[in-house]
Symmetry: C2
Subunit: 256 residues, 2 copies
DNA sequence: CGCGATTTGTGCACGTCTTCACAAGCGCCT
DNA sequence: AGGCGCTTGTGAAGACGTGCACAAATCGCG
């Protein structure tokens, strides 16, 4: 087929190569593939088929192949993918060839856990600074890092090239912290506070919200419960009537 | 249009009412709306327009209206939505009318933070048990709860009706813990360990993986860097972004 | 060297999600 | 009562994501 030209990570430094512009859904899965690949590499595998890798990553194999095809053609038909090469490619695309510096703001309950987490280091990141607004926390040492005052952010940013800011403060402080991070040039933020952040264009925000995850699970529990609670009514088991309403409309096709 | 009949939460107990079967994407956003609504209620608002609520939740207003329309017709044209009513409806649909019991397995670094988190209680959940495999942790008291041994899970499950299991153990132990949870009847799991869990059909698993979030941010950093490094190609420098982002939301620049 | 077994890469069809745009409905004011 | 401005609810269109199914490519072996 049309020969691919994707630049790849190849040692070649110098010019900034073009990045294939990947579908968001693919980007979100690459880290999963990467983790699975590292496991395979550790287990001594040199190559892996799309079937094998997709099973390890918990996805459909066709989807995996399509995802990888966006990066270029790095598999060998009849054989599979070279594990080491694929790791290199994915890490390149994800921008993990440089160890990115992370600033963690809010060293409370959650912040402490994050600060002590070795998953940062092992996956391409480096905690460059711990920051908090509480004077009584400033100066505390965690894992070899000293907590500094959040107002020192400009100084920290001057010392290090901060790539990502992590917000682990109460929701009430999150927007202000985000503003401070943006002010010193941070363009990627991971927000643990349960609130919406407003940031300028060009700044990416991702959020992790425990309560949302639980509530989504709760919904499915609720749904499962209401289904099993019904007597097995033929095919369409969803017809139980509420208080006393006409069972009208709703285009939703129910049942099988 | 055709009048809606969605059962809703209305005090009427007794029969199990039908749940509208919502699109997954909608389910994932309802918790956000709920949070925004609580904020609005606390601020004294009695009604809110789709425009106002969508701004507070950080989404497109048309999307919000469509999402809410799946629940039934709870707005008033020309006026907006009744905040209290909408809260009630969403909480009903999400199954939050009953406070669900959560079992937290793995009381280490992260587990401690979770155990001490008040966001559980304030959002409709209750930590029913803390469990760990390490004998030296068993017996420790956190926030009024005593850590029990993970092998006591069957006993715990017999005492309480566990709705959700949270796994905060190392990845190597996660699958085994998941099996134990499933064995005692848990059908919803929130997994913090960076690994794929395999569970029987009917069991829902959601995962939270810090490294994945960071790596996705890293990708965008990488992309942004390679773009700005390029000579201004064409006028539209900032148009790169497509419109919609997948279910696992990413918020890109909101606000002004 | 040719053949069959294997596995990738992808065209295509289908389902889901997003967004626009607007008619229908509601409250209020005159 | 009637009209006006505001807001919801939704049809339709398009963007996006998924998964099947298969041709093309590669390897190993006789
Ligand atoms: N603890 C958890 O398990 C958990 C889980 C999910 C989400 N969260 C969220 O994470 C956030 C932190 O939770 P926590 O339990 O660690 O709370 P916490 O109160 O223990 O810690 C918050 C820390 O932020 C600091 N802080 C406050 N304002 C600040 C500011 N303007 N600048 C810098 N630092 C500031 C405080 O001094 C404190 O150290 C909250 O938004 C919470 O909702 C926590
Ligand atoms: N610490 C963080 O900030 C953080 C962030 C994201 C993800 N994670 C992930 O969360 C998990 C826990 O991280 P941590 O830092 O708390 O680790 P940790 O080692 O501090 O704690 C793990 C706990 O699990 C317990 N455990 C081990 N095997 C068990 C079993 N079979 N049954 C029950 N309990 C068992 C251990 O005794 C320990 O108390 C890890 O998978 C980690 O990758 C941690």
């Amino acid at each position: 087929m049309s020969q691919h030209r994707h630049p790849g990570a190849p040692g070649r430094a110098g010019a900034v190569p073009t990045l294939p512009d990947l579908p968001e859904a693919t980007v979100a899965r690459l880290p999963e593939y990467l983790r699975a690949l590292h496991n395979l590499a550790d287990a001594g595998h040199e190559t892996v088929s799309s079937e094998g890798l997709s099973a390890a990553a918990g996805v459909n194999s066709a989807k995996l192949r399509k995802d990888l095809s966006h990066l270029g053609s790095y598999g060998t038909r009849g054989v599979g993918y070279d594990v080491a090469l694929l790791i290199e490619q994915i890490e390149y695309v994800l921008g993990l060839t440089q160890r990115r510096a992370v600033a963690l703001v809010g060293v409370g309950n959650l912040g402490h856990a994050l600060a002590g987490y070795d998953g940062f280091a092992s996956r391409g990141f480096r905690i460059a600074a711990l920051l908090d607004a509480d004077p009584s926390r400033v100066g505390e040492e965690i894992n070899g890092l000293v907590v500094r005052h959040v107002d020192d952010l400009p100084t920290v940013a001057a010392e290090e090239s901060l790539a990502i800011g992590v917000i682990a403060t109460p929701a009430a402080a999150a927007q202000q912290v985000a503003d401070q991070l943006v002010a010193v040039g941070v363009t990627s933020i991971l927000n643990f506070a349960p609130c919406v952040l407003s940031v300028p264009e060009g700044v990416d925000v991702r959020k992790v919200d425990l309560a949302i995850e639980l509530q989504i699970l709760s919904f499915h529990e609720h749904r499962k419960a209401s289904l099993t609670a019904l007597p097995a009514t033929g095919g369409t088991a969803l017809t139980a009537l509420p208080g006393g309403f006409a069972a009208t409309d709703t285009q939703e096709a129910i049942g099988t």
